[in-house]
């Protein structure tokens, strides 16, 4: 009976693992093959990767898109960390009834679907464009401003701050640190793992975001990696090897960060249910 059960477990898990990994393997293998071989179902690694990469660089502006995506994701992550951790710290350390009330209102924003915000936000930035073109439509600022502050992240930092030993703040105050000094000199260094978890989920979300950049970034030289891949994927006579090479390049940074920081990633996901 027990043997039967464990055979069953292993069979199911092996199938699940194969199904989960197959699209990755296919993507990686295909990026090393010619388009013709891909369509014929070749599942062996080839030697065409450099040629695919060459074609890719010739066809699309890969490097500018990588630079745009990196810029947006890095700035979003830094600002998001700062804004959300200040707020999470403020709500928890200086707790008051009126602040809790505001906090609960902020949480309601998690229920608002982005699709409902897209139209009014677009009109808002279109209006801003007329007087302040550097934060209007088709700018990096317009991409990151609406997405940089999320109630989820504020909630995450507040939950983590509950575990923070508040006595050391008192010690800091006696040593003459200002309130802001306490935050930057004591809280920030102690909460490194919380920041790591929050940073990785924010970076990934920003690196992968599609709908809002699609709406707000209109000129080709401003496009991000997901927009570039989406465009490649909708071409009529796709060069499979080349497209898969693009996807490998787009997925690799996220995958590497994920493997290095797997624990923090999971901690960031779990932040909401603690």
């Amino acid at each position: 009976m027990n043997k039967l059960k464990s055979t069953f477990s292993y069979t199911v898990l092996v199938i699940a693992a194969i199904v989960s990994m197959f699209p990755f393997l296919w993507m990686i293998v295909s990026s090393t093959n010619k388009s013709v071989d891909v369509t014929q179902g070749r599942m062996m690694p080839g030697s065409h990767f450099m040629q695919n990469l060459h074609n890719l660089l010739d066809t699309v502006d890969l490097v500018p898109a990588l630079i745009n995506s990196t810029k947006i994701s890095v700035i979003t992550t830094i600002l998001a960390m700062l804004i959300a951790s200040l707020a999470g710290y403020g709500f928890e350390i200086y707790k008051s009834k009126s602040k809790d009330f505001v906090f609960n209102i902020l949480l309601v924003s998690m229920m608002i679907p982005f699709a409902a915000l897209m139209v009014p936000l677009f009109r808002m930035f279109a209006t801003i464009s007329q007087s302040l073109p550097f934060i209007g439509i088709d700018t990096i600022a317009a991409v990151l401003l609406p997405t940089v502050t999320t109630a989820y992240l504020i909630f995450f930092f507040r939950q983590s701050t509950k575990m923070f030993p508040k006595e050391i703040l008192e010690a800091g105050r006696i040593d003459g640190l200002s309130e802001l000094g306490c935050f930057f000199r004591i809280y920030l260094p102690t909460m490194k793992t919380t920041y790591a978890a929050a940073a990785i989920i924010t970076f990934m979300a920003s690196w992968n975001s599609y709908l809002w950049p699609l709406v707000v970034l209109q000129s080709p030289e401003n496009q991000t990696i997901p927009l570039l891949i989406s465009n490649l994927g909708s071409s009529y006579s796709p060069d499979f090897g080349m497209i898969m090479t693009a996807i490998v390049i787009a997925t690799l940074p996220a995958a590497i960060i994920f493997f290095i920081m797997q624990k923090h990633f999971v901690a960031g996901m779990m932040g909401s249910v603690k």
């Binding site: 898990l13 296919w26 369509t39 959300a84 008051s96 505001v102 897209m118 009014p120 709908l211 989406s230």
Partner: protein, 309 residues
Amino acid sequence: MITAKENHTQALQKVNSGRKTRLKNNVIGWSFVIIAAVMIFLFYFYPMVQALILSFQTGVGANLTFTGIDNYTRLFKDPTFLTTVKNTVIYLIIQVPVMILLALFLSVLLNNKTLKFKGFFRTAIFLPCVTSLVAYSVIFKYLFGQDGIINMMLMKISLISEPIQWLTDPFWAKIAIIIAITWRWTGYNMIFYLSALQNVDESIYEAARIDGASPIQQFFKITIPMLKPIILFTSITSTIGTLQLFDEVMNITKGGPGNATMTISQYIYNLSFKYTPDFGYAATVSYAIVIMIVIFSIIQFKAAGDNNE
């Protein structure tokens, strides 16, 4: 007499200075949270109010006039809108339960203490979460192509005799979308259940085994009730996610064939940025999603609450 007066003044001073520090602390506290609060109001609540106003207006582009509830009555007569609601609800009621059951099942298998290669299985099944929605959608579009590798393999093992029209048949296109979403999110949900299972006392299962409960009975009678709060949490987040489905449909089928896979989010996008821009009506459609999210969340809370009694 004098001392009493002095005491009184001292006490008054103390109260005053206490008030001052409290006031000062209050100001400092608010200044910590103010940026975040302003940003959320500016980029979530203010646009929602704008959308509400817009939903009572009509016109092309920026030339808008008020039309009362015309947009709302139009909703119920708009076949495209009704199709997108139907599609979205189909994704929801098939995909979310299938994914949650699958994730629960895998997490139970992985929670076995004697299992070997646990880390490998967990990482492998979680791996799909690393991909961006656009990237995996494009991969699945090609996997599901008429002469794509999935049809090729199914034909090789003689499960089918001719290729399935995954992307051009209204029925199979929906199935393809559901398979894709399930692939992307099962591992994500599994991680939540796995961490919740680690807090379940092993002795409960032992007692059940002694009482002769089969593994299937244990799953439905112990595991699911024990994990109810986390199941509720994941089903609400999955519901909100599915009601907003956009990236996958846009990149796998573009909403086609016809409008057979189009979602509400995609319809809002098309109304605003693809067809002649009709921002007023698009805002009305977006309120339909908000209302659906509220309704489905209430249903799930109710369903979870009723089982408690």
